[in-house]
Subunit: 285 residues, 2 copies
């Protein structure tokens, strides 16, 4: 056991939208005990396997297909939101909908609708396969394209009137680079900076911390986009950066005698109990 | 006399707006011969002292003050446009107005009006003292600010909803840098890339040419903003760059034996006869 300093990033763990989602799901579980109805979550509620497992044990079944839903049940719409067509289908069923779409994601969906109605071609900055993006894309219409880096724009025809929105957990640097490029080619741009406040603060704090520690631990779901970006940001300034989901993934060999300061951050869907478990485990390595 | 290659940039000299302005002024002069009315130009018609001098000799008097105008005269509104308050005053006078405001500048004025009406705080990219900017600013209203570089934004409060427009002859790189910075702070941006097509082409062609020649000559009025920017762009890639107004400013000492390739470009308000004079003079140095 070494004399090590453990520094937790100023902004780490559950964000507003995730906290709200988990609380609403817990509330629903509490209410359902009385009438023993089935509770479904349309896709995992948040991108943290441990939290999703806990909720499953309490009775929230994750489904990926609308056909799996029984009548007279409750369906929770995940934090990342869903495609408007699926939302419409759900509304037509004899079920109770518990919408825990993050309010910031809902904003992006509304901006997408607005830009579409105003006739802009929409560039949606984010990860093509991420459920948040798949949902928002449903509001963009045909004249839209998902891009993840400025390089993807090189050589493609940029329309005259361009609208830009982003996944709420995008990196602000990436966003600025893409906007700069588009502004030099398109004639008119309408841009909504939809990166959420918490994402920016978390990324900035993680970046600062990673620069001054000997090892940086980024805790969060492997399927969590915002956690992966935290990892990338930290890795750029500290080569000794690791992405772990739980304390079990800690490797003693990372903690050489030279490691005096340990930095820790966590994605927006990582619960406090996992962060505390990691801290406790690091203390005794 | 050396064996030198002279390369004229693909896009050099009179742009569409300047050509149109000079033609309309000449037409007015022709018509006025019949009724011997006075012709005024509100500020120099274009930023080329030689052309303005020629027009003066033909009868176009440059004025800077509305009080100088006699009744029953004609007033030409310069290519750069004027402040809407002055335009209004002119309309109330017993005079004929010949509006040669460049149509691209008129566009920027209209976008300024639109952004103001839509409630955006406007950042106008350009030179504070340039007449084009002074005119456009009149359409922006109180909630606006002229900036010339991204550095001017550091540390100042950026409003939530931002509109961006630019002087038609701005550098596209500068424009992109400013937009990138603003997009990472403001929540909503509406951007009109108002840099005119001719400006972009001229700057790109000059940049390419300056890189492959031994000396680069940039011809145009010392008061011409777009010529000054051409000079800056070329100077960055070729230290042997000179800004001259006429052939008389050529200095034999610039043309050493090592100078085999001479590059030439000219601002949007430089007439062909000045460009040809420079070429002829370089041939015999």
């Amino acid at each position: 056991m070494q004399d090590r300093e453990i520094l937790l990033s100023e902004f780490a763990g559950f964000c507003f939208g995730v906290k709200r989602a988990v609380e609403l799901a817990e509330k629903k579980l509490f209410e359902s005990k009385e009438n023993s109805e089935s509770i479904y979550s349309f896709g995992p509620l948040i991108h943290n396997p441990q939290v999703v497992k806990q909720l499953k044990e309490k009775g929230v079944k994750v489904i990926e297909n609308i056909q799996e839903i029984k009548n007279n049940s409750s369906v929770i719409i995940r934090t990342h939101g869903i495609h408007p067509d699926i939302e419409e289908e759900l509304k037509n069923k004899d079920i109770t909908i518990v919408d825990v779409t993050c309010p910031f994601v809902r904003n992006v969906q509304n901006y997408a609708k607005q830009l579409k109605n105003e006739g802009y071609f929409i560039f949606l900055i984010g990860e093509k396969e991420h459920p948040e993006i798949k949902g928002i894309l449903g509001y963009c219409g045909e004249n839209s394209r998902v891009i993840n880096s400025v390089q993807e724009l090189f050589g493609i025809k940029i329309p005259q009137s361009v609208g830009v929105i982003a996944q709420t957990t995008q990196s602000i640097t990436n966003f600025g680079e893409i906007v700069a490029y588009l502004s030099t080619i398109a004639k008119e741009l309408k841009i909504f900076n939809t990166i959420c406040w918490a994402t920016e603060k978390r990324q900035q704090a993680a970046y600062k911390l990673a620069k001054v520690v000997d090892i940086m631990l980024v805790i969060g779901g492997k399927n969590s986009g915002n956690t992966r970006r935290l990892y990338e940001i930290c890795k750029k300034v500290n080569n000794n950066t690791y992405h772990i989901e739980t304390a079990d993934e800690l490797d003693n060999s990372w903690f050489t005698d030279k490691v005096k300061r340990v930095g820790i951050t966590a994605g927006a869907s990582t619960p406090d109990w996992i962060i505390l478990e990691v801290i406790d485990r690091v203390k005794v390595i």
